[in-house]
C-alpha cells in the first residue's frame, strides 16, 4: 500500500509542476522588489556586493533566524549525540591520518584560515560572506581532527572554546542589532556611516555582522563535525530489546 501512496504522491507532484511550468513566465521576473533594491542598495547600505547588502541589511532578521536554525541543529545534534558518550567505552575506529594527511593538514590549516577570514571580511565587496567563510573556517579546524584523531577522536578540539566562540559571536550579532534599537533606530538598522564604496571599511556595520556570522557558523560546524567524529563506530549490540529504554 505504501508504494501506491508514494506513486500517487509523486505523480501528483509531477503533474503540479508541469501545470506550473506551462504557466510560468520564463526569464522575465517582474523585478518589483529586486529592481528597487538594485537602485537603492548602494545608497542606503553602501555595500558593493548587493547580495550581502540584502542578506545583512534589508533582510537582516532572516539571517538572524537562519543563524538560529544552524544553532538549533548543532545544539539538537549535541543533545542526540553527547548522550552516547557515557556508554561508549572504546574510542573511534578511525586510524590516525597517514603521513600525507598529517603534512597536508599542517600546510592547509593556515591557508584555510587566511582564505576563510578573507572571505568573511570581504563579504560586502566580493562574492562571499559570513556563511561561506564560516564553513571554510570549520573545514580548517576539522582537517586537523581528521589528521590526528587522538584517543577520543576529537583531535583535541576543546568544546568549551567552541561553546564560548559560538555563544559570544551570536550574542555579538544581536548586540549590534540591539545597539541600533537602543539609540532610537530600528532593530538591525545599519550604523557607523557608509564609508567609501569598495573600501574594506565601508558599509557600516555589515563587516562586523559578517564577522559575527562567520565566527558563529565556523565554531558551530567545527563542533558539529567533531561530535560526529567522536562517535564510536558501528552497532555495539546487534538488536538489544532491553537497551536503555529511556529514563
Amino acid at each position: 500500500m505504501r508504494n501506491l501512496a508514494s506513486l500517487v504522491f509523486t505523480a501528483g507532484l509531477a503533474f503540479l509542476l508541469l501545470v506550473i511550468a506551462a504557466q510560468l513566465g520564463f526569464g522575465e521576473p517582474p523585478m518589483r522588489v529586486g529592481g528597487a533594491i538594485l537602485e537603492q542598495a548602494p545608497a542606503e547600505v553602501g555595500a558593493a556586493n548587493i547580495v550581502t547588502a540584502v542578506l545583512l541589511g534589508y533582510r537582516g532578521i532572516d539571517t538572524l533566524g537562519e543563524l538560529s536554525i544552524l544553532f538549533a541543529a548543532a545544539t539538537a545534534t549535541g543533545l542526540v549525540l553527547v548522550r552516547g558518550r557515557k556508554d561508549c567505552g572504546h574510542g573511534t575506529s578511525d586510524p590516525p591520518g597517514g603521513f600525507i594527511l598529517r603534512t597536508g593538514a599542517d600546510l592547509l590549516f593556515p591557508l584555510l584560515l587566511v582564505v576563510g577570514f578573507y572571505i568573511i571580511l570581504h563579504g560586502h565587496l566580493t562574492p562571499g560572506g559570513g556563511f561561506q567563510g564560516g564553513v571554510i573556517l570549520a573545514a580548517a579546524f576539522f582537517v586537523l581532527v581528521l589528521a590526528r584523531p587522538g584517543a577520543d577522536g576529537s583531535g583535541g578540539t576543546s568544546h568549551t572554546a567552541i561553546a564560548f566562540i559560538e555563544g559570544l559571536a551570536g550574542a555579538g550579532f544581536i548586540a549590534i542589532g540591539l545597539w541600533s534599537l537602543w539609540d532610537g533606530g530600528e532593530f538591525l538598522a545599519p550604523l557607523l556611516g557608509k564609508g567609501v564604496m569598495g573600501e574594506l571599511l565601508s558599509a557600516g556595520t555589515l563587516p562586523l555582522l559578517s564577522l559575527a556570522v562567520g565566527l558563529k557558523v565556523g565554531a558551530e560546524l567545527a563542533g558539529l563535525m567533531t561530535q560526529l567524529a567522536e562517535q564510536p563506530a558501528g552497532p555495539q549490540h546487534p538488536h538489544p530489546q532491553a537497551e536503555d529504554r529511556g529514563s
Binding site: 576539522f142 563535525m225 564510536p232
Partner: protein, 104 residues
C-alpha cells in the same frame, strides 16, 4: 564571440551540466554502494554550483560548492563510517551492508 550558431555556447554548456546533474541524481538512488551514492550527491551539488555560476549568482555558487559538496559530503561520509556502511569492495553484498536498493 562565435557567430550566432543555432545553439549558442552557453546553452550547450548548460545542457551538458544539467544532463550531468540529472544523471548523477538518478545514480544516487540506484547505486548499491552507499559511498558511491554519497559521491554522486557531491557531484549533484557541484553541478548545481556550476549552474548557479551560469545564472550569474556567484555568492550562491560559492555557498553551494562549499556547503553542498564540502560540508554535507563530509557529514554524510562520517555518518557512513559510523553506520558501518563504509565498505569499498563490492564483494560484501549482504542486504543490510548494501543498504537495500529501493524496489522500483
Amino acid at each position: 564571440m562565435i557567430p550566432d550558431v543555432d545553439l549558442d555556447l552557453q546553452t550547450l554548456f548548460a545542457l551538458v551540466m544539467v544532463a550531468l546533474v540529472l544523471v548523477s541524481a538518478v545514480l544516487v538512488l540506484i547505486l548499491d554502494n552507499m559511498i558511491s551514492a554519497v559521491a554522486a550527491s557531491g557531484v549533484v551539488s557541484l553541478g548545481v554550483a556550476v549552474l548557479f555560476v551560469l545564472l550569474h549568482a556567484p555568492d550562491v555558487a560559492m555557498t553551494e560548492a562549499v556547503v553542498g559538496a564540502g560540508l554535507s559530503g563530509v557529514v554524510l561520509a562520517l555518518g557512513l563510517r559510523r553506520l558501518g556502511l563504509w565498505q569499498l569492495d563490492a564483494t560484501d553484498t549482504s542486504p543490510e551492508r548494501r543498504g537495500g536498493k529501493p524496489d522500483a
